[in-house]
Protein backbone atom coordinates (compact mmCIF):
# COMPACT_ATOMS: atom_id res chain seq x y z
CA UNK A 1 0.00 0.00 0.00
CA UNK A 2 1.28 3.43 -0.77
CA UNK A 3 -0.57 5.12 2.07
CA UNK A 4 2.58 4.83 4.17
CA UNK A 5 6.30 5.20 3.55
CA UNK A 6 8.46 2.09 3.36
CA UNK A 7 9.89 2.97 6.75
CA UNK A 8 6.44 3.14 8.34
CA UNK A 9 5.59 -0.24 6.84
CA UNK A 10 8.89 -1.70 8.02
CA UNK A 11 8.34 -0.51 11.60
CA UNK A 12 4.71 -1.57 11.47
CA UNK A 13 5.42 -5.08 10.18
CA UNK A 14 8.60 -5.58 12.19
CA UNK A 15 8.13 -3.44 15.28
CA UNK A 16 11.22 -2.89 17.44
CA UNK A 17 11.06 -3.12 21.22
CA UNK A 18 7.58 -4.56 21.36
CA UNK A 19 6.58 -6.17 24.65
CA UNK A 20 6.54 -5.55 28.36
CA UNK A 21 9.24 -4.80 30.97
CA UNK A 22 8.46 -6.56 34.24
CA UNK A 23 8.93 -4.22 37.20
CA UNK A 24 9.45 -1.28 34.87
CA UNK A 25 10.78 1.91 36.42
CA UNK A 26 8.27 4.00 34.54
CA UNK A 27 5.06 3.21 32.65
CA UNK A 28 3.12 5.61 30.49
CA UNK A 29 -0.21 4.94 28.82
CA UNK A 30 -1.97 7.45 26.58
CA UNK A 31 -4.91 7.49 24.19
CA UNK A 32 -8.14 5.60 24.64
CA UNK A 33 -9.85 2.65 23.09
CA UNK A 34 -12.81 4.80 22.11
CA UNK A 35 -10.61 6.73 19.68
CA UNK A 36 -8.95 3.57 18.49
CA UNK A 37 -5.42 4.28 19.75
CA UNK A 38 -3.73 3.29 23.01
CA UNK A 39 0.01 3.34 23.54
CA UNK A 40 1.80 1.99 26.54
CA UNK A 41 5.52 2.58 27.12
CA UNK A 42 7.64 0.72 29.68
CA UNK A 43 11.03 2.15 30.76
CA UNK A 44 14.02 0.66 32.52
CA UNK A 45 16.15 3.51 33.83
CA UNK A 46 19.77 3.22 34.94
CA UNK A 47 21.25 6.45 36.31
CA UNK A 48 19.75 8.98 33.93
CA UNK A 49 19.93 6.65 30.94
CA UNK A 50 17.04 4.76 29.36
CA UNK A 51 18.59 1.29 29.58
CA UNK A 52 15.60 -0.43 28.03
CA UNK A 53 12.23 0.48 26.58
CA UNK A 54 9.29 -1.62 25.42
CA UNK A 55 5.88 -0.74 24.06
CA UNK A 56 2.43 -2.16 23.49
CA UNK A 57 0.05 -0.47 21.08
CA UNK A 58 -3.59 -0.87 20.17
CA UNK A 59 -4.05 1.11 17.02
CA UNK A 60 -3.55 1.55 13.33
CA UNK A 61 -0.42 0.89 11.31
CA UNK A 62 1.02 4.34 11.88
CA UNK A 63 0.37 4.12 15.63
CA UNK A 64 2.35 0.89 15.86
CA UNK A 65 5.12 2.26 13.63
CA UNK A 66 5.28 5.52 15.63
CA UNK A 67 5.65 3.61 18.89
CA UNK A 68 8.35 1.43 17.42
CA UNK A 69 10.31 4.36 16.01
CA UNK A 70 9.93 6.41 19.20
CA UNK A 71 11.35 3.59 21.31
CA UNK A 72 14.32 3.29 18.95
CA UNK A 73 14.97 7.01 19.20
CA UNK A 74 15.16 7.01 23.00
CA UNK A 75 16.74 3.64 23.76
CA UNK A 76 20.15 4.10 25.41
CA UNK A 77 19.67 7.88 25.51
CA UNK A 78 19.66 10.21 28.53
CA UNK A 79 16.24 11.04 29.99
CA UNK A 80 16.63 14.70 29.09
CA UNK A 81 16.89 13.75 25.41
CA UNK A 82 13.81 11.58 25.62
CA UNK A 83 11.95 14.46 27.23
CA UNK A 84 12.65 16.73 24.31
CA UNK A 85 11.66 14.18 21.67
CA UNK A 86 8.96 15.71 19.52
CA UNK A 87 6.27 14.05 17.48
CA UNK A 88 7.74 15.77 14.44
CA UNK A 89 11.04 14.01 15.01
CA UNK A 90 9.24 10.68 15.22
CA UNK A 91 7.31 11.38 12.02
CA UNK A 92 10.43 12.57 10.21
CA UNK A 93 12.37 9.48 11.26
CA UNK A 94 9.56 7.48 9.64
CA UNK A 95 9.97 9.48 6.41
CA UNK A 96 6.70 11.23 7.12
CA UNK A 97 3.13 10.32 8.03
CA UNK A 98 -0.09 11.24 6.23
CA UNK A 99 -1.48 14.47 7.71
CA UNK A 100 -4.44 12.78 9.38
CA UNK A 101 -2.10 10.27 11.01
CA UNK A 102 0.16 12.84 12.67
CA UNK A 103 -1.74 12.32 15.93
CA UNK A 104 -0.14 8.86 16.12
CA UNK A 105 3.29 10.47 16.46
CA UNK A 106 1.83 12.83 19.06
CA UNK A 107 0.67 9.83 21.08
CA UNK A 108 4.18 8.35 20.93
CA UNK A 109 5.69 11.58 22.23
CA UNK A 110 3.09 11.81 24.98
CA UNK A 111 3.45 8.17 26.00
CA UNK A 112 7.19 8.61 26.52
CA UNK A 113 6.73 11.72 28.62
CA UNK A 114 4.01 9.99 30.63
CA UNK A 115 6.38 7.09 31.35
CA UNK A 116 9.18 9.45 32.44
CA UNK A 117 6.80 11.41 34.67
CA UNK A 118 5.70 8.11 36.21
CA UNK A 119 9.36 7.29 36.90
CA UNK A 120 9.96 10.69 38.56
CA UNK A 121 6.85 10.41 40.70
CA UNK A 122 7.45 6.80 41.75
CA UNK A 123 10.93 7.70 42.90
CA UNK A 124 10.03 11.06 44.41
CA UNK A 125 12.51 12.73 42.12
CA UNK A 126 12.39 16.47 41.53
CA UNK A 127 11.28 17.47 38.02
CA UNK A 128 10.38 20.57 36.08
CA UNK A 129 6.57 20.53 35.66
CA UNK A 130 6.96 22.80 32.63
CA UNK A 131 8.37 19.85 30.71
CA UNK A 132 5.18 17.86 31.26
CA UNK A 133 2.65 20.51 30.39
CA UNK A 134 0.31 19.68 27.58
CA UNK A 135 1.76 20.84 24.31
CA UNK A 136 -0.07 22.21 21.35
CA UNK A 137 -0.13 19.85 18.44
CA UNK A 138 -1.88 20.08 15.20
CA UNK A 139 -4.48 17.34 15.14
CA UNK A 140 -5.61 17.04 11.61
CA UNK A 141 -8.52 14.99 10.51
CA UNK A 142 -9.98 14.85 7.09
CA UNK A 143 -13.55 14.24 6.08
CA UNK A 144 -15.14 10.86 6.39
CA UNK A 145 -16.60 8.62 3.73
CA UNK A 146 -16.17 4.98 2.96
CA UNK A 147 -15.45 5.46 -0.71
CA UNK A 148 -17.66 2.69 -1.97
Amino acid sequence: MSLYSEKVMDHFKHPRNVGVIENADGIGEVGNAKCGDIMKIYLKIEGDIIADVKFETFGCGSAIASSSMATELIKGKPLKDALTLTNKAVAEALDGLPAYKMHCSVLAEEAIRAAILDYYKKNNLPYDPELFKERDHEHEHEGSGDGE
Binding site: G19, I38, C60, H141, G143
Partner: protein, 395 residues
Protein backbone atom coordinates in the same frame (compact mmCIF):
# COMPACT_ATOMS: atom_id res chain seq x y z
CA UNK B 1 -1.95 -16.70 -2.22
CA UNK B 2 -3.96 -13.71 -3.39
CA UNK B 3 -7.53 -13.51 -2.12
CA UNK B 4 -9.74 -10.66 -3.21
CA UNK B 5 -12.41 -10.47 -0.54
CA UNK B 6 -13.54 -6.88 -1.00
CA UNK B 7 -16.27 -7.35 -3.58
CA UNK B 8 -18.64 -5.04 -1.73
CA UNK B 9 -16.17 -2.23 -2.47
CA UNK B 10 -15.95 -3.17 -6.11
CA UNK B 11 -15.88 -6.27 -8.27
CA UNK B 12 -13.57 -7.40 -11.02
CA UNK B 13 -15.27 -6.81 -14.35
CA UNK B 14 -16.83 -9.91 -15.90
CA UNK B 15 -15.05 -11.04 -19.09
CA UNK B 16 -18.33 -10.91 -21.03
CA UNK B 17 -18.93 -7.35 -19.84
CA UNK B 18 -15.43 -6.26 -20.77
CA UNK B 19 -15.81 -7.86 -24.18
CA UNK B 20 -19.11 -6.05 -24.62
CA UNK B 21 -17.46 -2.77 -23.64
CA UNK B 22 -14.81 -3.18 -26.32
CA UNK B 23 -17.27 -4.40 -28.93
CA UNK B 24 -19.67 -1.51 -28.42
CA UNK B 25 -16.83 1.02 -28.33
CA UNK B 26 -15.61 -0.23 -31.68
CA UNK B 27 -18.88 -0.87 -33.44
CA UNK B 28 -21.39 1.54 -31.92
CA UNK B 29 -19.28 4.62 -31.47
CA UNK B 30 -21.85 7.06 -32.80
CA UNK B 31 -23.57 9.53 -30.52
CA UNK B 32 -27.10 8.25 -29.83
CA UNK B 33 -28.36 11.80 -30.31
CA UNK B 34 -26.99 12.02 -33.88
CA UNK B 35 -29.32 11.67 -36.81
CA UNK B 36 -26.99 9.63 -39.01
CA UNK B 37 -26.80 5.88 -39.22
CA UNK B 38 -23.90 5.53 -36.78
CA UNK B 39 -25.83 7.57 -34.23
CA UNK B 40 -29.09 5.74 -34.76
CA UNK B 41 -27.40 2.36 -34.43
CA UNK B 42 -25.98 3.52 -31.09
CA UNK B 43 -29.43 4.76 -30.10
CA UNK B 44 -30.93 1.36 -30.88
CA UNK B 45 -28.25 -0.37 -28.84
CA UNK B 46 -28.89 2.04 -25.96
CA UNK B 47 -32.59 1.18 -25.99
CA UNK B 48 -31.84 -2.56 -26.20
CA UNK B 49 -29.76 -2.16 -23.03
CA UNK B 50 -32.53 -0.23 -21.35
CA UNK B 51 -35.04 -2.94 -22.24
CA UNK B 52 -32.73 -5.62 -20.91
CA UNK B 53 -32.10 -3.88 -17.59
CA UNK B 54 -35.83 -3.16 -17.27
CA UNK B 55 -36.80 -6.77 -17.86
CA UNK B 56 -34.26 -7.97 -15.31
CA UNK B 57 -35.73 -5.63 -12.68
CA UNK B 58 -39.34 -6.34 -13.65
CA UNK B 59 -40.28 -2.88 -14.88
CA UNK B 60 -41.10 -1.03 -18.09
CA UNK B 61 -38.32 0.16 -20.34
CA UNK B 62 -39.39 3.78 -19.86
CA UNK B 63 -38.84 3.47 -16.14
CA UNK B 64 -35.07 3.00 -16.41
CA UNK B 65 -32.69 5.99 -16.46
CA UNK B 66 -28.97 5.48 -16.91
CA UNK B 67 -26.73 7.45 -14.57
CA UNK B 68 -23.09 7.60 -13.51
CA UNK B 69 -23.68 5.15 -10.68
CA UNK B 70 -25.24 4.48 -7.30
CA UNK B 71 -24.46 7.82 -5.72
CA UNK B 72 -26.00 9.84 -8.55
CA UNK B 73 -29.06 7.59 -8.62
CA UNK B 74 -29.56 7.92 -4.85
CA UNK B 75 -29.10 11.69 -5.02
CA UNK B 76 -31.53 12.16 -7.89
CA UNK B 77 -34.23 9.96 -6.40
CA UNK B 78 -34.14 11.65 -3.01
CA UNK B 79 -33.84 15.18 -4.35
CA UNK B 80 -36.73 14.58 -6.75
CA UNK B 81 -39.06 13.26 -4.07
CA UNK B 82 -38.03 16.12 -1.80
CA UNK B 83 -38.74 18.81 -4.42
CA UNK B 84 -42.14 17.28 -5.16
CA UNK B 85 -42.86 16.94 -1.43
CA UNK B 86 -41.94 20.52 -0.68
CA UNK B 87 -44.37 21.74 -3.35
CA UNK B 88 -47.16 20.03 -1.41
CA UNK B 89 -45.84 21.21 1.93
CA UNK B 90 -44.65 17.73 2.84
CA UNK B 91 -41.14 18.03 4.17
CA UNK B 92 -40.61 14.91 6.26
CA UNK B 93 -38.33 12.13 5.03
CA UNK B 94 -37.99 8.81 6.83
CA UNK B 95 -34.84 6.74 6.37
CA UNK B 96 -32.56 4.53 8.43
CA UNK B 97 -29.39 5.05 10.46
CA UNK B 98 -27.45 2.55 8.35
CA UNK B 99 -27.85 4.04 4.88
CA UNK B 100 -24.89 4.65 2.60
CA UNK B 101 -23.43 8.16 2.68
CA UNK B 102 -24.89 8.78 -0.79
CA UNK B 103 -28.26 8.75 0.98
CA UNK B 104 -27.25 10.12 4.39
CA UNK B 105 -25.33 13.10 3.08
CA UNK B 106 -28.14 13.99 0.68
CA UNK B 107 -30.53 13.87 3.64
CA UNK B 108 -28.17 16.04 5.71
CA UNK B 109 -28.22 18.61 2.94
CA UNK B 110 -32.03 18.54 2.82
CA UNK B 111 -32.18 18.91 6.58
CA UNK B 112 -30.20 22.14 6.27
CA UNK B 113 -32.75 23.25 3.69
CA UNK B 114 -35.54 22.79 6.20
CA UNK B 115 -36.62 19.19 5.74
CA UNK B 116 -37.39 17.06 8.75
CA UNK B 117 -35.23 13.95 8.56
CA UNK B 118 -36.09 10.92 10.65
CA UNK B 119 -33.45 8.18 10.76
CA UNK B 120 -34.92 4.95 12.07
CA UNK B 121 -32.73 2.87 14.35
CA UNK B 122 -31.96 -0.75 13.55
CA UNK B 123 -31.87 -3.75 15.83
CA UNK B 124 -28.70 -5.51 16.92
CA UNK B 125 -29.05 -7.61 13.78
CA UNK B 126 -28.85 -4.50 11.62
CA UNK B 127 -32.45 -4.68 10.40
CA UNK B 128 -34.96 -1.85 10.59
CA UNK B 129 -38.36 -2.61 12.07
CA UNK B 130 -41.43 -2.29 9.85
CA UNK B 131 -43.43 -1.17 12.87
CA UNK B 132 -40.96 1.66 13.50
CA UNK B 133 -41.26 2.70 9.86
CA UNK B 134 -45.03 2.63 10.13
CA UNK B 135 -44.99 4.85 13.21
CA UNK B 136 -42.57 7.30 11.62
CA UNK B 137 -44.68 7.90 8.51
CA UNK B 138 -47.11 10.75 9.00
CA UNK B 139 -49.17 13.00 6.77
CA UNK B 140 -46.16 15.29 6.21
CA UNK B 141 -43.99 12.48 4.90
CA UNK B 142 -42.98 12.79 1.26
CA UNK B 143 -40.44 9.98 1.08
CA UNK B 144 -39.23 6.83 2.77
CA UNK B 145 -35.71 5.69 1.80
CA UNK B 146 -34.55 2.27 2.96
CA UNK B 147 -31.61 0.38 1.52
CA UNK B 148 -32.27 -3.15 0.31
CA UNK B 149 -29.06 -4.61 1.76
CA UNK B 150 -26.40 -2.98 3.85
CA UNK B 151 -22.92 -2.59 2.38
CA UNK B 152 -21.01 -3.16 5.61
CA UNK B 153 -22.86 -5.84 7.51
CA UNK B 154 -24.93 -7.34 4.69
CA UNK B 155 -28.24 -7.21 6.52
CA UNK B 156 -31.25 -7.39 4.20
CA UNK B 157 -34.00 -4.89 4.98
CA UNK B 158 -37.77 -5.54 4.84
CA UNK B 159 -38.19 -3.20 1.88
CA UNK B 160 -41.15 -5.07 0.36
CA UNK B 161 -43.13 -4.80 3.61
CA UNK B 162 -42.24 -1.13 3.98
CA UNK B 163 -43.16 -0.69 0.32
CA UNK B 164 -46.67 -2.00 0.91
CA UNK B 165 -47.03 0.38 3.79
CA UNK B 166 -45.88 3.31 1.68
CA UNK B 167 -48.36 2.43 -1.07
CA UNK B 168 -51.20 2.35 1.44
CA UNK B 169 -50.18 5.74 2.80
CA UNK B 170 -49.44 7.28 -0.59
CA UNK B 171 -45.80 7.94 0.30
CA UNK B 172 -42.95 7.52 -2.16
CA UNK B 173 -40.38 4.81 -1.45
CA UNK B 174 -36.78 4.84 -2.59
CA UNK B 175 -34.45 1.90 -2.12
CA UNK B 176 -30.70 1.97 -2.47
CA UNK B 177 -30.22 -1.49 -3.96
CA UNK B 178 -26.58 -0.99 -4.88
CA UNK B 179 -25.37 -3.95 -2.82
CA UNK B 180 -28.36 -6.14 -3.61
CA UNK B 181 -28.74 -6.10 -7.39
CA UNK B 182 -27.02 -9.11 -8.89
CA UNK B 183 -26.64 -10.71 -5.46
CA UNK B 184 -30.25 -11.48 -4.57
CA UNK B 185 -33.54 -11.47 -6.47
CA UNK B 186 -34.66 -7.89 -7.05
CA UNK B 187 -38.05 -7.10 -8.57
CA UNK B 188 -39.34 -3.56 -8.31
CA UNK B 189 -42.97 -4.71 -8.29
CA UNK B 190 -42.39 -7.06 -5.38
CA UNK B 191 -40.62 -4.26 -3.53
CA UNK B 192 -43.42 -1.76 -4.29
CA UNK B 193 -40.78 0.93 -4.61
CA UNK B 194 -40.98 4.13 -6.62
CA UNK B 195 -37.22 4.53 -7.02
CA UNK B 196 -34.39 2.03 -7.00
CA UNK B 197 -30.70 2.81 -7.35
CA UNK B 198 -28.12 0.38 -8.72
CA UNK B 199 -24.46 0.49 -9.63
CA UNK B 200 -22.79 -1.65 -12.30
CA UNK B 201 -19.42 -2.22 -10.66
CA UNK B 202 -20.98 -4.07 -7.75
CA UNK B 203 -22.03 -6.96 -9.98
CA UNK B 204 -19.16 -7.29 -12.41
CA UNK B 205 -19.91 -4.31 -14.62
CA UNK B 206 -17.68 -1.29 -15.17
CA UNK B 207 -17.37 1.70 -12.83
CA UNK B 208 -18.98 5.05 -13.50
CA UNK B 209 -22.28 3.67 -14.66
CA UNK B 210 -25.51 2.80 -12.93
CA UNK B 211 -29.23 3.13 -13.26
CA UNK B 212 -32.20 4.62 -11.52
CA UNK B 213 -35.59 2.98 -11.72
CA UNK B 214 -38.37 5.53 -11.49
CA UNK B 215 -41.92 4.25 -11.38
CA UNK B 216 -44.15 5.85 -13.98
CA UNK B 217 -45.74 8.89 -12.38
CA UNK B 218 -43.15 9.33 -9.64
CA UNK B 219 -41.56 12.79 -9.69
CA UNK B 220 -38.16 13.14 -11.33
CA UNK B 221 -36.10 16.29 -11.52
CA UNK B 222 -32.69 16.82 -13.07
CA UNK B 223 -29.43 16.90 -11.20
CA UNK B 224 -27.58 17.53 -14.45
CA UNK B 225 -28.91 20.03 -16.95
CA UNK B 226 -28.03 20.09 -20.60
CA UNK B 227 -29.08 17.99 -23.57
CA UNK B 228 -32.23 15.95 -23.81
CA UNK B 229 -30.64 12.58 -23.07
CA UNK B 230 -32.52 10.11 -20.88
CA UNK B 231 -35.79 11.70 -21.92
CA UNK B 232 -34.57 15.06 -20.70
CA UNK B 233 -33.95 13.88 -17.16
CA UNK B 234 -30.22 13.34 -17.22
CA UNK B 235 -28.08 15.39 -19.58
CA UNK B 236 -24.76 14.23 -20.98
CA UNK B 237 -23.79 11.98 -23.89
CA UNK B 238 -24.67 8.44 -22.89
CA UNK B 239 -21.75 6.23 -21.88
CA UNK B 240 -22.95 3.51 -24.20
CA UNK B 241 -20.03 1.06 -23.88
CA UNK B 242 -20.37 1.14 -20.10
CA UNK B 243 -24.17 0.91 -20.25
CA UNK B 244 -23.96 -2.10 -22.57
CA UNK B 245 -21.35 -3.73 -20.36
CA UNK B 246 -23.59 -3.13 -17.35
CA UNK B 247 -26.57 -4.73 -19.09
CA UNK B 248 -24.37 -7.69 -20.04
CA UNK B 249 -23.05 -8.08 -16.49
CA UNK B 250 -26.52 -7.82 -14.99
CA UNK B 251 -27.86 -10.39 -17.43
CA UNK B 252 -25.12 -12.82 -16.52
CA UNK B 253 -25.50 -12.17 -12.78
CA UNK B 254 -29.26 -12.71 -12.89
CA UNK B 255 -28.98 -15.81 -15.04
CA UNK B 256 -26.61 -17.46 -12.57
CA UNK B 257 -28.27 -16.04 -9.47
CA UNK B 258 -29.70 -19.21 -7.86
CA UNK B 259 -26.51 -21.25 -8.24
CA UNK B 260 -24.34 -18.26 -7.27
CA UNK B 261 -26.35 -17.64 -4.13
CA UNK B 262 -26.31 -21.31 -3.16
CA UNK B 263 -22.59 -21.73 -3.66
CA UNK B 264 -21.40 -18.43 -2.19
CA UNK B 265 -23.67 -18.56 0.84
CA UNK B 266 -22.21 -22.00 1.65
CA UNK B 267 -18.71 -20.48 1.48
CA UNK B 268 -19.85 -17.54 3.58
CA UNK B 269 -21.31 -19.86 6.22
CA UNK B 270 -18.13 -21.88 6.38
CA UNK B 271 -16.05 -18.73 6.83
CA UNK B 272 -18.40 -17.39 9.49
CA UNK B 273 -18.23 -20.69 11.33
CA UNK B 274 -14.43 -20.75 11.19
CA UNK B 275 -13.90 -17.14 12.26
CA UNK B 276 -16.46 -17.46 15.05
CA UNK B 277 -13.96 -19.74 16.80
CA UNK B 278 -11.71 -16.73 17.46
CA UNK B 279 -12.26 -15.82 21.12
CA UNK B 280 -14.07 -12.57 21.92
CA UNK B 281 -15.37 -11.76 18.49
CA UNK B 282 -18.89 -11.16 17.19
CA UNK B 283 -20.58 -11.44 13.83
CA UNK B 284 -22.08 -8.16 12.65
CA UNK B 285 -25.45 -8.27 10.97
CA UNK B 286 -28.16 -10.87 10.85
CA UNK B 287 -27.12 -14.51 10.64
CA UNK B 288 -29.85 -15.44 8.14
CA UNK B 289 -31.08 -12.29 6.45
CA UNK B 290 -27.74 -11.31 4.99
CA UNK B 291 -26.14 -10.97 1.58
CA UNK B 292 -24.75 -14.29 0.39
CA UNK B 293 -21.22 -12.91 0.12
CA UNK B 294 -20.99 -10.81 3.29
CA UNK B 295 -18.93 -11.73 6.34
CA UNK B 296 -18.44 -9.01 8.95
CA UNK B 297 -16.88 -9.38 12.38
CA UNK B 298 -15.69 -7.28 15.29
CA UNK B 299 -12.63 -8.54 17.15
CA UNK B 300 -12.03 -7.20 20.61
CA UNK B 301 -8.67 -5.68 21.58
CA UNK B 302 -7.38 -4.83 18.10
CA UNK B 303 -7.78 -2.07 15.56
CA UNK B 304 -9.03 -2.62 12.03
CA UNK B 305 -6.52 -0.71 9.95
CA UNK B 306 -3.53 -2.61 11.29
CA UNK B 307 -5.51 -5.80 10.71
CA UNK B 308 -6.13 -4.84 7.08
CA UNK B 309 -2.50 -3.94 6.46
CA UNK B 310 -1.22 -7.23 7.82
CA UNK B 311 -3.83 -9.17 5.87
CA UNK B 312 -2.82 -7.26 2.75
CA UNK B 313 0.72 -8.39 3.40
CA UNK B 314 -0.58 -11.96 3.20
CA UNK B 315 -2.32 -11.23 -0.08
CA UNK B 316 -5.77 -10.78 1.47
CA UNK B 317 -7.83 -7.78 0.34
CA UNK B 318 -10.51 -6.92 2.90
CA UNK B 319 -12.15 -3.88 4.45
CA UNK B 320 -12.86 -2.42 7.88
CA UNK B 321 -15.19 0.07 9.47
CA UNK B 322 -12.52 1.40 11.80
CA UNK B 323 -12.05 5.16 12.03
CA UNK B 324 -8.46 4.90 10.87
CA UNK B 325 -9.42 3.39 7.54
CA UNK B 326 -11.59 6.34 6.59
CA UNK B 327 -9.59 9.18 8.05
CA UNK B 328 -12.41 10.17 10.37
CA UNK B 329 -12.51 10.10 14.16
CA UNK B 330 -15.50 7.82 14.47
CA UNK B 331 -15.81 4.23 13.41
CA UNK B 332 -18.52 3.22 10.96
CA UNK B 333 -22.00 4.64 11.62
CA UNK B 334 -23.41 1.24 10.75
CA UNK B 335 -21.46 -0.56 13.48
CA UNK B 336 -22.43 2.13 15.97
CA UNK B 337 -26.07 1.78 14.89
CA UNK B 338 -26.11 -1.94 15.69
CA UNK B 339 -24.84 -1.16 19.17
CA UNK B 340 -21.14 -1.86 18.82
CA UNK B 341 -19.35 0.55 21.14
CA UNK B 342 -16.40 2.51 19.74
CA UNK B 343 -13.84 0.25 21.42
CA UNK B 344 -14.92 -2.81 19.46
CA UNK B 345 -16.23 -1.05 16.36
CA UNK B 346 -12.60 -0.05 15.65
CA UNK B 347 -11.75 -3.73 15.41
CA UNK B 348 -14.03 -4.63 12.55
CA UNK B 349 -13.32 -6.68 9.47
CA UNK B 350 -15.48 -7.13 6.39
CA UNK B 351 -14.87 -9.88 3.86
CA UNK B 352 -17.08 -9.81 0.80
CA UNK B 353 -17.00 -12.84 -1.45
CA UNK B 354 -17.77 -13.24 -5.13
CA UNK B 355 -18.60 -16.05 -7.48
CA UNK B 356 -14.86 -16.40 -8.11
CA UNK B 357 -14.21 -17.19 -4.44
CA UNK B 358 -12.97 -20.75 -3.96
CA UNK B 359 -12.97 -23.29 -1.12
CA UNK B 360 -9.17 -22.96 -0.98
CA UNK B 361 -9.48 -19.22 -0.48
CA UNK B 362 -11.93 -19.74 2.37
CA UNK B 363 -9.47 -22.18 3.96
CA UNK B 364 -6.65 -19.66 3.57
CA UNK B 365 -8.74 -16.86 5.12
CA UNK B 366 -9.78 -19.18 7.96
CA UNK B 367 -6.16 -19.99 8.64
CA UNK B 368 -4.54 -16.56 8.30
CA UNK B 369 -7.08 -14.23 9.90
CA UNK B 370 -6.97 -15.88 13.36
CA UNK B 371 -3.15 -15.70 13.27
CA UNK B 372 -3.12 -11.98 12.49
CA UNK B 373 -5.77 -11.27 15.14
CA UNK B 374 -3.73 -13.22 17.67
CA UNK B 375 -0.52 -11.38 16.78
CA UNK B 376 -2.14 -7.94 17.05
CA UNK B 377 -3.65 -8.93 20.37
CA UNK B 378 -0.21 -10.00 21.57
CA UNK B 379 1.07 -6.42 21.16
CA UNK B 380 -2.12 -4.69 22.34
CA UNK B 381 -2.25 -3.13 25.81
CA UNK B 382 -6.05 -3.33 25.61
CA UNK B 383 -5.91 -7.08 25.14
CA UNK B 384 -3.47 -7.42 28.05
CA UNK B 385 -5.84 -5.42 30.27
CA UNK B 386 -8.72 -7.67 29.21
CA UNK B 387 -6.72 -10.81 29.84
CA UNK B 388 -5.45 -9.63 33.22
CA UNK B 389 -8.86 -8.45 34.38
CA UNK B 390 -8.19 -4.69 34.40
CA UNK B 391 -10.81 -4.18 31.74
CA UNK B 392 -14.00 -6.16 31.08
CA UNK B 393 -14.74 -7.92 27.85
CA UNK B 394 -17.46 -6.43 25.72
CA UNK B 395 -17.67 -9.30 23.25
Amino acid sequence: MFVYADNAATTKIRPAALQKYVEISEQFFGNPSSLHTAGQRAKEELERCRAKVASLLGCNTREIYFTSGGSESDNQAIESAAIAGAKKGKKRIVSTAIEHHAVLHTLNKLQKEGFEIVLLPVGENGIVSVADAEKAINSNTCLVSVMLANNEIGSIQPVAEIGKLCRERGVLLHTDAVQAVGHMPVDVKELSCDYLALSAHKFGGPRGVGALYVKTGAPLFNLIEGGAQERGKRAGTENLPAIAAMAEALGEACENLPSYMRRVSALRDKLIENLSKIPHCALNGDREKRLCGNVSFCFEGIEGESLLLLLDDKGICASSGSACTSGSLDPSHVLLAIGRVHDVAHGSLRLSLSEDTTEEEIDYLSEEIPKVVEYLRSISPVWRDLQEGRRSYIL
